[in-house]
Symmetry: D2
Subunit: 367 residues, 4 copies
């Protein structure tokens, strides 16, 4: 049997390669989808895959598609599930789609992922796998064997699986353009403040405050500090800028799809700052009535995406509605960043509905 | 005619005293309701009132009532109208109620307030005045004469009205326990960053980070850093603590009741930090289903209160529902404050619904 | 001054012609928009207008446009405001639009309507008049003179205004393709059962039960009893068929735009039967999740339309969403009609989501 | 092992007795909860149980409790799940509660029900069994053996199980005070009109129209045609009256808890007529704002109850809100019934918010 595995190069998916080969008798093709991972990690993943004796390894650059067709929709929707900007949730459907594409090209029999039976990712992978390739078998070795992280580590050691992480820290990390998530270890105790060591993207390195301007057109950012940027570049730069001021840390209790509460930590400097600017601009250019309706729709959109229902027709219908409100969302927003704090510090828009004449207590009411 | 005026001691209400005396031929009784104003301001108001030749002046301490019966309900409801914690909106109905009480005791014929025809406060005063004393006349001189701020200033100068504010700055200020609002002047241009000078409560004076613990019981804060506190004291201390770290500044575009967009600036250090802690704790102790329903109810509650409908039976019905969710909301929340930034840094609760066993990827799924 | 008046030929608008001429010194152009009125009434209106000495009279056939661009949208939205299928509410914006068009062609200075200051129609006319021709004056003589019906009758008699209605009954009638409304007189007492005499469209003349089939495509009815029909014809026939079985009477307390409760009576045989079939079919072909979301959107749509906000961008955005659900709504619905009763008696659809295999207790659960 | 079975006397639960005895080696105690079943059926159930060799049989009269604590709450909530008045859904939690009570008194080890793995009732029984007696085993033989109706019939014949139903018709029936449901057989084809034979409660036997008056107090009916009645008696009489006019037939596609669409048929003459009257009265006595909020809450309440979450704290919280609106709901409603048609024919209430003065076009607008 030939199986195509969504491969990150991390512990779980590396263990999966071996299990697929030995327990499921599969020829394994690994696919790493680049939705915003570092060059070095992509290279490491490729090398590990080869050491693990895979049939083939693919690295697919999907950053542009991810930014334009997924993240930009999230910006328009002010995407937030209980405060989480949906970084991983947004990327999984695209990753799964690309895996299916390669599986079809390679004539594979099975699709595989490394998700556990407790988390959310299993639903996000399964949804796309089932709808796009109902004829293929889905194999989720970690879930099927009900492996704990400790068992995975033991299995990796026994089988001499190359695996880069320091086993003492044992955080589980996921990264893409829209954010970085950190789970496990000491973080599982909600009474404990997250240690500084978990943060990679939001270490404060800037020495003082900084002001940036974001220009929006049809609801999405198109320029940074006056320079036009493509989606990927703009998001990467906002991650860097907001990140060096420590902006974008999220520490929350999250209700997982299965109804389990989990303590989750994220670093989303770009997401937090861009959505803050977007929301603020909407208040300048949209009528109260439209804001209210959109605010009622946003959590429905976000919950669908969180639950892995990206391809659900309802998500697409809601996007039709959201889209129809964004033509108006145009203008420039200044953000001020300093020591984890981020705030809007001025906005301008040709489509502004604000009228000093109407609002000011210095002007008479026109009769 | 005898009129009782809700009197703050500021420009508008001072002008109103004179107009009520001269244009409306009223004997004026001024009432200053203390919902969290400084001693010196209360004294100043009294002195000004006397200089203006009022019949009587009353100072009423309503802080305890305001904190317990208004602010605490707002905490349970995570009160927010488009991001505004409703500080002034919450206080107006209580102020109006007290004014009516005195008007009845003094056998007055009219109730007066200094609100303009453009803002929100007119609706909040009128609603209570009409429902509590339908037999009395309502006089709102600034609204009826359609006075601009400039005209008020001119009138004050002409009539030698004592009025403390530096006329160059011309901000319009309102303060109470739950927050401070600053309007007017340069702030009316949304493209301009608010100047530091507008902030009184959130000047950064602390030299480094600080951690505080808030203990909640039945949805409201009952202790600060381990010491039990009454509502007023607790809120005042949180204002002081969060304030000295610069936490609680709000700069927003707000949709006023009349449909006008306005640029509004607030300092709400206590409100921002306490509600952040309360919301976070709710995510630890309430089921997803209950969170969702409560999140749907909260903006309805907040909009009613913003619109001056405090005494509307619907607000009371919604509070019955909100109240029923708060028994569960018990526990201790650590907040970390530094340089305008505030974040939850650990929570503990006997009523926590979080289970490490269920959530951890280090534990097997129990079958 | 030249004024163009939306003219029905009834008492109020006939009185308006005279008032416009005499009190407002206008040359009056009358326009009767045919959104489903009988030939004889159109002719009568024309004749009356001429007798009243108007400058010009226009009769505009807008039935097709009304059915296709207004009523069909209402069917897709299962339009209902507290139980009222929005017949008049739907037609007013189109009527107003046509009046504006003629006013522009004729170089008029003013737009006029006969609505009172208590009802809903004033808002519906004004909204379109203001947005489409902000440069023209709006004259609403009945509202401006605060005329009661009695005063209108007196004025009509005095001024020898031709006016067909029996003054003893004094119901106020409005009719179009989508329904007939009856107001006033004895109906203003909600404790009284409406007398048979008010009904024109739903007199029971059929001797026994009848079954009809309605075929839907993309959410709208396209065939009746197996024969393809255009929108106007189909609705007229359903009015006739359902009407002769007495189906479609509505007797309700309605909350008018101004917050006044009114007792309203309608005959909407086509609307009631077609929307019953449409809703029922939706339950066969739409997923629960989509039904729930659509059911949340429908009252928002209906309230907007009721309030005269047909041209509001929000209505258009909601229609984008509703439209996106209707591709699926295809199939044939049998309706059984008899003695005021109407019920679905069988449905078939290629897009049915019903599976006997899945539902039946006679079939095993497939593992 | 000692098992207590919720026993209706029908095919499924009779088969369960035998299976519990033979396959599960249980001593079986049967309990029939009377939530509005005929005397003869209760007697039949008892006789059958004895023939099946049960250890003990109990018949519990829970009609009063059902009417007062369940149905009356449903009336206040205008209970409707997609058009279904929740008759069976309302009764199951009470039935389950009573079964648990007896199981505890009898020192049983297991609780048993006859629900299948496809329908809704399994969730309703299980929810109460688990929360009220977590220590007892739940046995659902039909679900566990994945029995089809045909297999149940075969098993009944083989084992000589007394079973009254004509096997050719093979409808599955459930009855209580609030309605009767009919499933299976030809009804599983949604294109077929339900045959007359399925109806027991709504056979038209009245010769002409009839008017009844229902008096409401605090949101519930307290008198019928001027005579005070207790809850059970009132509902039974409305079932009889509306039933003999054929009122209350419901033929619908319903989304079951598991997401399966099913064709469902109900006879709910009392529910349909009483809720029609209640809703209509609410429109007379509640403000628009309160109606809107209540209409948003009602489907949430109904879905919870449909899903078996009667004991969920959220249902209780929603009832607190609903209850708070009902004090106002007082008055008398006339209903006219004839040939399956039912309509309100007049209302009177001391708490009416209708004002002829305000609404009438015969009265001037007061300035």
């Amino acid at each position: 049997m030939k199986a195509v595995l969504a491969y990150s190069g991390g512990l779980d998916t590396s263990v999966c390669v071996k299990i697929l080969q030995e327990k499921y008798n599969c020829d394994v093709i690994t696919v790493t989808i680049d939705v915003g991972i570092s060059e070095s990690e992509l290279k490491q993943a490729e090398e590990k895959a080869k050491k693990l004796g895979v049939l083939k390894h693919f690295t697919i650059d999907a950053k542009e598609e991810f930014a334009r067709d997924y993240v930009f929709k999230a910006i328009k929707a002010n995407a937030s599930y209980e405060g989480y900007p949906l970084s991983t949730a947004l990327a999984r459907p695209l990753t799964a789609l690309k895996v299916v594409k390669i599986a079809k090209e390679e004539g594979a029999d099975a699709l595989a992922h490394g998700a556990t039976g407790k988390g959310n990712d299993q639903f996000r992978f399964d949804a796309v796998f089932k709808s796009e390739a109902p004829e293929m078998k889905i194999i989720a070795p970690v879930r099927e064997l009900n492996l704990t992280r400790e068992e995975s580590i033991a299995y990796a050691k026994e089988n001499d699986i190359p695996w880069g992480m320091d086993p003492d820290k044992s955080y589980s990390i996921d990264e893409n353009l829209w954010g970085r998530s950190i789970e496990g270890g000491i973080l599982e105790d909600p009474s404990v403040e997250p240690p500084e060591e978990i943060y990679e993207w939001t270490k404060i390195t800037a020495s003082g405050p900084e002001t940036v301007t974001l220009e929006f057109k049809e609801g999405v950012p198109v320029a940074l500090n006056g320079t036009k940027k493509g989606p990927v570049e703009l998001i990467q730069e906002m991650n860097a800028i907001a990140g060096k001021h420590g902006v974008g840390r999220i520490d929350m209790i999250e209700d997982r799809i299965l109804g389990i509460k989990a303590r989750e930590n994220y670093e989303c400097p770009g997401a937090v700052s861009i959505i803050m600017a977007h929301k603020s601009l909407e208040h300048l250019v949209l009528k109260r009535k439209d804001l209210k309706l959109k605010e009622a729709v946003e959590p429905v959109w976000s919950e669908l995406v969180y639950n892995g229902a990206w391809n659900d027709p309802q998500r697409i219908k809601l996007d039709a509605f959201i889209e129809s409100t964004q033509e108006q969302v145009e203008g420039t927003v200044k953000l001020k960043l300093d020591k984890k704090y981020c705030a809007v510090a001025g906005m301008e828009s040709k489509k502004s509905l604000y009228s000093q004449e109407a609002a000011s207590f210095d002007k008479k009411i026109s009769q």
